[in-house]
Structures are given as C-alpha cells and as structure tokens.
C-alpha cells in the first residue's frame, strides 16, 4: 500500500496556521514566562498574531482554491471576507479581554473560597484566556471555509470548546458565570449531537462527506429524500443553535448575562460571523437546489426569531439580556439573507455580519464601562442619566443602539436595507414585512434606552462610570468610527464585498 503525503497550500492556509502557532506559543508562555510579565507578553503576542493573520488574509484575497487542504477547505472571496471580519472583530475584542478586572483570578478555585481570595490578593490573572481566544478564532476561521462535514464538525467543536471555558471565567457573580458555562456546554453538546446525526444522514443520502459530493446528489436527485431532509434539518439545528435562532436560542440570554462581558462581546459578534458564514456556504452551494424544501422552514424560523427577539427584549430590565434578545432578533434578520439566495443576499449578509459584529463589540464595550463598587451595573434602571455623567459612554452606546435599530447614517441601516431588499427580490415578502415591523418594535426599546440615558434624571446610587482604559476606549472609538463610516459612506466596502463575494463550487 502506498502512502500519499497530503498536499497543503501553505500560503492559503497561512492565516489559520499563524493563529494556531500563536496559540501554541501562548500556551508555552503560560508555562515559562514569569507571572508579572505574562499579561503584557500575552496581549502583545495575541494582538501580533491576529494582525499577522489579518495581513495574510489581505494578501490572499482574490485567490481561489478548492484544494487548499486536499479538498477539505475551500478558499474563495466569501472565505476571505468572512475570515477578515472575524479577525477584525477579534482584534477589537482583544482590547476588552485585556481588562483583567473582568476575569476571575483563579478559575479552578471554588467561588468565595480562601484560595480565590489569596489568588486575588497576589494579583493573579487568568492569562490563559488569550490562547483560548486564539484557538476559538482559528475554529471560527475554519468554520466558514470547511468543505466537508468532518472538517465542519471539527471547526464547530474547535470554536465552541474554548468559548464554553471562557464563559465561566467571570470575576463577579462567579456562580452565575459557572452555571452559564455549564449550560452552554451541555446544550452545545446536545446541539452538536444533532449536528453529527444530521451529518450521518447526509452521508447516508449521498455516500459522500464532501460538500461537492452532497451537492451532486442533491442536483441529481437520485437519493432517498427522507435522508436528505432529516439530515439537512439536523445539520441546520446545530448551526441555528450557534447563531441563537428561535427555538434554539434559550441558552443565549443566560450565557450572555453570565459570561464575562468581553467574552460575551467576542462570542456574540465573532461566532455569528463564523456560523452564518458556514450557513451561507452550505445553503448557497450544497443545498441550493433543494431550495423548495428548506426556504419555507428557514423563513418561519427567521420570522419567529425576529418577532420573539424583539418582543421579549422590550420587557428586559438587564442590559446584557436585552442585547441577547436583540441578537436573537438579529439572527432572524440575518436569516433573511440566507433565504434571499442570490448574489445581493450574499453581499448583504456579509456586510450585515461585519457591521453588526463591530457594533455588538462596541455595545458590550460600553457595558463594561458602567460600574459601581461591586462590578458592572447591568440593571437598566441604574443607567438613568448616564448621558450627564458620562457623555462619552452614553453617546457611544446611543450610536450602537441606533445601529442595531437600523437608523440611517449608521451601518445598521445600510445592512438592513440591503438584506431586506435582497430577500424581497427573491419573493420572501412575508419575511421582509415581518422584518420591517419587528425592526420598528426593536427601535422602540433601543430608543427607550437612549431616552433613559439622556432624558431621565439620574438616581443617586453611586453608579460610577470608570474612566475608560485606553484599550477599552480604543474598542469603543474604533467600533463607533466603523459604524458611522459604514453608515455614511458604505460604497467602497460594499463594492469590495460585491467584487469578492462569489462562491466557488
């Protein structure tokens, strides 16, 4: 038996390889660098790795290859765009993650135990969060470019496992944080099981695990449709779970609330890009010819996600939970880009993902700023009058809320407009109408928060806004600038996306 060495296109894979290499070095740093130096070394290393990876992504734009890793990964325009978005989001999130105040000093210690107190006093930090982030980012980078089911599953687990861990690292409210991590893990495993089950069905249907093979069977239409439909449904459940679409959303409010806010920011933004990236590839290429079977289902899910997300968000009193429900609604908006199933839909979804991701990181970055002596204040009632105490934080938050609401001159408007018009073009009228109506409902609670911050008198309860550290300030400012620029002058970015975003099959 002869053994053929796998042929790898190292240049095309370099963004991912760099990340993995950086993560491994990060692990070594944990072992060999002194405790005092670790935070700064890790931050520099992580940031450098992400930047280098982004640079490589920039260099391979325009490249196309179906065989970058023996046919398991595919590099094309959408791949580059999605990977670039993930990296940009990771870079601005890493500034937030660098805030040690957010993370427990010793993750292994029982909440409230003597060890924990000791670790806190000795100034311990969980710098492991940096390599974990890099591992998660590499998983996210692989997810949208995987072109067979095994690779897709490996990427899914690779991005999920570090996130499960990181969700449990919050410094304050340790128990809630650990609970959320466990919930996320259990439910994530449950969803992964569905995913694997679906993959098995699809193999049964087509006799192939590659996207190309499944696609051929779908076009040929020779296989057993029940296997295809069940496989498709279960695979989709795994993906819908990750993006938090109804009815697979129940984890997200709890996890968003329990996880340390920087992790929530990163997770909410980057996971969405990765998971929607994978969905775009699967639905636009693999299942495109079975459109008749899944469009109604995905439309229904989009509609309930938008409506439920928007409605329930109204009654939330906690800013992180409110943002969680808003992200559920946004998952619905994004699904309308999948339903569109045309070039415009692809462009719009990629734009929306980037715009929404950046605004999300910015929004959560502001949340990290509003604190009192016992940590972050997420109760919305105590955000009253924030505009007077901290115009910077309040105006930035207002901008991000307006972007979520899709008000013109913010990136959210361009995103919503283009995604809905693409869906409308494909005849998804019901989805578009619901989308516009639930945007209106959503605008109600976003603007209510703005009113709360600017036009309501403050309650004297000692809610202080911390002077933002230079890093957090950088996150807020960069996100705000991107949000505004994409809203006022989106043409170059839209053109860039339109030129690049073509799937190769």
């Amino acid at each position: 038996m002869t053994f053929t060495a796998p042929v790898l296109s190292y240049t095309l894979l370099s963004p991912i390889l760099i990340l993995l290499g950086g993560a491994l070095i990060g692990v070594l740093v944990e072992a060999f660098v002194s405790k005092a130096l670790r935070p700064v070394v890790q931050l520099t290393l992580t940031l450098g790795t992400l930047m280098l990876s982004l640079f490589q992504v920039w260099r391979i734009r325009g490249e196309q290859s179906l065989t970058a890793a023996m046919g398991s990964l595919v590099i094309d325009g959408p791949a580059v765009l999605l990977q670039g978005s993930i990296l940009v989001i990771a870079i601005i999130s890493i500034f937030l993650i660098a805030d040690a105040e957010q993370f427990t000093p010793l993750a292994a210690a029982l909440p409230g135990s003597a060890e924990e107190r000791e670790a806190a006093q000795s100034g311990n930090q969980v710098t492991e969060v940096y390599p974990l982030t890099l591992f998660a980012v590499s998983g996210m980078m692989i997810f949208p470019i995987a072109s067979d089911l095994i690779m897709l599953f490996v990427a899914l687990e690779m991005l999920s496992l570090p996130l499960y861990l990181m969700a449990g690292l919050s410094r304050r409210r340790r128990l809630a944080s650990q609970e959320s991590a466990l919930k996320y893990f259990l439910l994530g495993s449950f969803a992964s099981a569905f995913f694997l089950f679906g993959a098995a069905y699809l193999y049964g249907y087509s006799g192939s695990i590659t996207f190309a093979g499944i696609r051929e069977s779908v076009i040929g239409g020779s296989g057993n449709d029940v296997l295809l439909l069940v496989g498709m449904a279960f695979l989709t459940i795994g993906l819908l779970f990750k993006v938090g679409a109804v009815p697979f959303h129940s984890w997200s409010p709890d996890v968003y609330q329990g996880a340390p806010t920087p992790i929530t920011a990163f997770m909410a933004a980057a996971t969405k890009v990765a998971a929607f990236g994978a969905m775009l590839r699967i639905f636009y290429t693999v299942f495109a010819n079975a459109e008749w079977s899944w469009t109604p289902i995905i439309s229904a899910i989009a509609i309930i996600s938008m409506v439920l997300g928007s409605l329930v968000a109204i009654s939330q009193r906690d800013v992180k939970r409110m943002l969680a429900y808003s992200s559920i609604a946004h998952a619905g908006f994004l699904l309308s880009g999948i339903i569109a199933l045309n070039k415009a839909g692809l462009d719009a979804t990629i734009f929306y993902l980037f715009a929404y991701g950046v605004a999300t990181v910015g929004g959560f970055a502001v949340v990290t700023l509003v604190r009192d002596s016992s940590g972050e204040v997420t109760d919305l009632n105590r955000w009253k009058g924030l505009g007077k105490r901290s115009p910077f934080a309040a105006s930035a938050f207002a901008l991000f809320l307006l972007a979520f609401a899709g008000i013109p001159l913010t990136s959210g408007f361009i995103g919503k407009f283009s995604i809905f018009s693409a869906a409308y073009e494909n005849g998804a009228t019901a989805v578009v109408i619901t989308g516009v109506l639930s945007s209106a409902i959503a605008a109600f609670f976003y603007i209510r928060v703005i009113v709360l911050m600017f036009f309501t008198d403050a309650v004297e309860d000692g809610t202080a806004v911390e002077i933002p550290s230079i890093l957090t300030r950088a996150t807020v400012v960069i996100s705000a600038v991107i949000t505004l620029v994409l809203g006022i002058y989106p043409a170059p970015v839209l053109d860039f996306i339109t030129d690049l975003a073509i799937f190769i099959r």
Binding site: L186, L187, A233, P247, S250, L308, L311, S315, A491
Partner: protein, 630 residues
C-alpha cells in the same frame, strides 16, 4: 467638460475656517476673526483666478467641473458629489466671496465688543462655504446640501444673540418657514428622479423635453415653493423682517446680498424646466409681481431702519423673480439686478449698521435725524446706494431695473401691461420709502436721545462701505455696457429667436420710470422733509398705514390659516397618539410582557427545560419539513 481641481478650494477654505474656529474654541478668540477673514479672502482669490481662466477659454469650453466622489449608488439612483463652475455660478461665486470678504472686514470692527466674535466668524465662514456649495453643486441634490447649509447658517446667525427670547423666536420662525420651501425642493428632486431618472442639472436639461409637461409643471411649482421660502417671496415672506434680529453684517450678507437671492439662482438654473412649463413660469411671474408690491408697501410704514431695508430687499427680489419668470429674455436681467442689488443693498445695510453703531444700537429712524453732519462717510456711501436703488442714471440700479421694467412691458398683451405697470408703481413706491429712510436718518432736525453720541465709524467699517458704494455706482454700467453680462450668460439659456414687438422704446421706459421715481421722491419730500417728524410714531394714521405697519397682516394670516389649525391638528393628533398609537404600543408591550411571563416558564434557568425546548423545536422542524414536502 474640463476638470478643475482648484474648485474644491473655493469651498474647502471657508469650511476649514469654520471648522478651525469652532473646534479651537476660546483659544482662537485672539486671532479667529483674522483667520475667518483670510479664508474668505483666499476663496475670493480662487474665484478671481477661476474667472481669469474662464475668460481665456473659448465660450463653449468655459464651464469646468470637478467630480468629488461617488456619493449615492443605490440601484437606479446614482449621484456623484460634483462641482460645476459655469458662467452663471462664477457670478455668484464672486458676489458671495467678494461681498462676503468685505463684510468679514466690516465685522471685525462691528463685532469687536462681542465676546463671541470668534463664533460669529465661524458661522460666517460656514455660511460662505455652504452658499458656495449651493451655487457650485452640479445636481439638485448637491445644491440641496448647500441649501440646507445656508439655512442652518442663517438660523445660527439670526439667533446669534439668542439670549434675547425674541431673537431666538425670530430664528425659529425663519427656520420653520424655510422648511416649507425646503420641502418643495425635495419634492422637486423626487419628481425629477421619478420622471427623468436623474437629478443632475445636465441630466435634467437633457431629459426635460422628454418629460411630460405635467411633471415639469409640478417640478417647476415645487422649485418655486423652494425659491419662495429661501428668497422670502409671497406667500413665504414673513420671516425676513424678523430675521433682522441678527447682527447687521449678517443682514447685509445673508439677508440682502446672497442667501435670499438663492431662489433667483434656483429658478435661473432651472431655466430648462420653466421654459418647458409655461404654467409654472407664469406662477413665477405672479409671485414676483405680488412680492415686489408687497415688500414695497411694507417698506413705506416701517420705522425700524433694518426692517425698512428688509422690506425693500423682499421687493427687489420680487423684481428679480419676476424677471426670471419672463423666460430667456429675463434671466440675464434677473442676474444683473441681483448683482447690482448685492452691491447697493449690502452697502446700505452696512450703512445702517454704521448708524446703529454710532447711535447705541438704536434702530428707530424717528430717533435719528441730522446725522449727515456726524457721519459724512456713512451718509455719502448710503446716499450712493440710495441713488442706485432708485434707478437714477448712471447708478447701478438704473441699468438693471430699467431692463426689467422694459422686459416686463415687452411680455406682450395684457400680461405685459399689467407687469409693466406693476414694476413702474413698485419703482415709485421704492423711491418713496427709500427717500423717507434718507430724510428721517440723515436730514432734518436731530431727534435722538440725550445719551446718544453719534460719530463716524472706524475705517475698518467705512472701507467696505466705500468699496460697495463704488460698486453701487459703477456695476450697472460695467455689466450692461455692450450687453456684457447678457452675452456672458447667453450660452446657458435656450433662446428662441423670436423678437417681440417693443411696446415702448427703451428711452420711453426710462423716462416713465424716472418720472415715477420723481413722483415718489417728491411725495416723500413733502411729507417728511417739509413737516416736523415726530420722534414717536403717530397713532392717528389711516387704516392702510396700520395694516402696512403690521406687515400687511402676514403674521395674522399665518396665525389664522396655519398656526391655529395646525395647533388644533397637533392637539388632536396628540390625543389620537395617546389613545391609538400609544395604546397600540402599550398593547404590544402588554402582549409582550404577557408572552414574556409565559415564556419565562420556559426561560426558567433549568438546562433540562432548555434542552426540552430544543428537542421540541427539532421535532417541530422535522414535522414542518414533512408538511412542506407533502
């Protein structure tokens, strides 16, 4: 079309000035006014440079453009942000930056005691930039940006002393009335896009003859509404008098020489629309004719020197609008009167400012009198402007106004007679109220309060007045000798080679106009110079005077027709909003809260329930697929 990069500097320089002055804050207090003036002057320099380049080029190559960036590109709707400098816009550029610079210089001294002088200059620079964008934009949408920009600058400057509630109200009034006009402009743009698929001047001009007349008429009327709002024409004229609350240099620059003439620019620029829409064009003439009488009548009863001049501005712009409504024969004269008016009216406003400066900011002319001796330079410059507005040869107004009167008569038929007579009567009334201003202010006996110490203004103030006075004297001759301006603008307008019969010879028209002016002057002379003028306005006056003093009831009219019904509508709407909309929202909220608590049963924090939800969801999904496939 040739590209000229330096066009950008025209706008960029004053814009940078405004930005620097506003952002630098108090740090710039010491030198802010100098920077502002320098920016405006440099912009004027660029304008002159462009004029020289333009003169060197053959006629058909005179317009130059500059595409700035692709602004909007949504589906069929493509707009580039671009600049266009042609024979028409260069006239405006030089007027705006030239008069603007003079007024900057004047303001250095006029505003020297104001602690917010830097902010004032920032707004002036902002205005110059916005006004230049208005006249340089190469599409209606670009023009609209400048249009809103000058509206903003005007609002900020009218309310510059907003610590006085009346002044703040005046700026709000100007803003609100301008919104109506702005709405007209936006409708016109929408009509242009809907019928012709383009909003650029070149594009609309090209497609205008394919469009239906109904669409063009609609667009023309909307453009007229826009012009009426910005240029204080009937029925949107009421804000201009109140706008005099702003510092006097503002009244001179914005509310006399430049911004209020934007409506004339808009109509002249849209000549291709109006030429193809006779109904709209007729409405333009009617609006112009009404306003010129309206303004003149208000002018006769005003004791506030600035309000008298404002009424006169309204009336003179009426002349321009009327001329612009007469079609290709009138455009050049509208622009000529606009330019000469820019000189003499700005000069007179600065003169009024100079008088106020010497009289403790007193504006009531009944408290002036005999100022000639104390302010000789102001008297001479104001007097030259006065002769110009009257249309006495060889001063500027003689050339421009006589042309308009003559063209009005030549419009033919009853229309020609009505318009001609209206313009003639307007000229007589103008002569009357301007003479009244002269007599009350500069001659007769002194009626001022004891604490007033009239004195001539410093050279920084009288120098600009002198320069403008030179313009008042010479601009008419320069622009009309050899039909200079007419030939200059000729390539822009679509001339039909039809020669209307001249109703009167030009010399006859001039004679009639001068006779009317003489009558007006004589009446004013006998009424004010021969009788003692009371320092308080007499109460036992005719009903007509009372009406004129109240601006011909324009505010009462607005109140009765718009404000009260509007308020009633608002009250009703608020009530409806409370019940219907808020009710619906509260309903939605309650439903949401209800469903929220229902869902809270599911969102109970137990991971087993969450897993159950997912499982149920999965089963539902399979079920749904089964249904779909069946």
């Amino acid at each position: 079309m040739t590209t000229s990069t330096s066009l950008v500097y025209l706008i960029a320089l004053p814009l940078a000035g405004a930005a620097i002055l506003l952002l630098a804050g108090r740090r710039a207090d010491k030198w802010g006014h100098l920077l502002g003036t320098a920016m405006s002057a440099s912009s004027f320099g660029v304008g002159l440079y462009q004029l020289m380049l333009m003169l060197d080029r053959p006629t058909e190559q005179r317009p130059v453009g500059k595409k700035l960036f692709e602004w909007i590109n949504v589906g069929e709707f493509k707009v580039d942000a671009g600049l266009l400098l042609d024979q028409l816009s260069i006239c405006f550029v030089l007027l705006i930056t030239g008069v603007g610079t003079l007024i900057h210089i004047y303001s250095i001294s006029y505003m020297s005691h104001d602690k917010d002088r830097r902010r004032f200059f920032a707004y002036l620079n902002l205005f110059i930039a916005a006004m230049l964008l208005l006249v340089l934009g190469d599409s209606y949408l670009n023009l609209y940006v400048g249009w809103e920009g000058v509206g903003l600058a005007s609002y900020l400057l009218i309310g510059f002393w907003n610590q006085k509630p009346a002044y703040a109200t005046a700026s709000k009034k100007a803003f609100v009335m301008n919104r109506i006009g702005d709405m007209g402009l936006s409708f016109a743009i929408m009509i242009a896009f809907a019928t012709m698929g383009t909003v650029s001047f070149a594009g609309v001009q090209e497609h205008a003859h394919h469009a239906s007349e109904a669409a063009l008429t609609g667009m023309g009327i909307m453009l007229l509404v826009a012009a009426a709002g910005k240029s204080a024409q009937f029925p949107l004229q009421a804000w201009l008098g109140d706008a005099m609350a702003g510092p006097t240099p503002v009244s001179a620059l914005i509310h006399a020489a430049t911004m209020v003439t934007a409506g004339v620019y808009l109509i002249t620029r849209s000549n291709f629309v109006f030429d193809a829409a006779p109904t709209a064009q007729l409405l333009v003439v009617i609006v112009g004719a009404i306003t010129l009488m309206f303004g003149a009548l208000i002018g006769t009863a005003k004791d506030d020197i600035k309000k008298a001049l404002a009424a006169s501005t309204m009336s003179q712009i009426g002349y321009m609008i009327l001329a612009a409504g007469l079609g290709p024969v009138g455009y050049a004269f509208a622009i000529m009167h606009l330019l000469t008016h820019g000189f003499f009216k700005a000069g007179m406003f600065l003169g009024a400012g100079s008088v106020m400066h010497g009289m403790n900011d007193e504006v009531n002319m009944r408290k002036y009198g005999a100022l000639r001796k104390f302010m000789p330079i102001t008297f001479v410059t104001f007097g030259l402007g006065y002769l110009a507005i009257l249309g006495v040869p060889p001063f500027a107004g003689f050339y421009s106004k006589d042309m308009i009167i003559e063209t009005a008569f030549n419009a033919g038929g009853a229309k020609g007679i009505i318009l001609g007579v209206t313009t003639l009567i307007g000229a007589a009334i103008t002569a009357f109220y301007m003479t009244r201003v002269m007599i009350l202010t500069f001659t007769g006996t002194k009626r001022w309060d004891d604490d007033a110490h009239p004195h001539e203004s410093p050279w920084l103030m009288w120098l600009p007045m002198a320069v403008l006075a030179i313009g008042s004297v010479s601009s008419g001759y320069l622009l009309s000798s050899g039909d200079a301006l007419e030939n200059w603008l000729h390539p822009l307008f679509d001339h039909h080679e039809e020669h209307e019969a001249h109703l009167f010879e030009p010399i006859v028209v001039s004679a009639m106009a001068l006779t009317m002016v003489a009558i007006g002057v004589a009446i004013a002379f006998f009424k004010y110079a021969r009788q003692e003028v009371s320092s308080v306005a007499p109460e036992n006056v005719s009903i007509f005077t009372k009406i004129a003093r109240q601006d011909l009831m324009q505010d009462r009219f607005n109140e009765a027709v718009f404000m009260r019904p509007g308020q009633a509508l608002t009250t009703t709407l608020v009530a409806a909003d409370d019940v219907v909309i808020d009710g619906a929202v509260r309903g939605v909220g309650q439903v949401a809260m209800g469903s929220g608590s229902a869902l809270r049963g599911l969102q109970n924090g137990y991971v087993r329930s969450y897993a159950a939800v997912i499982l149920v969801g999965a089963i539902a999904l399979i079920g749904a697929i089964w249904v779909v496939v069946q």
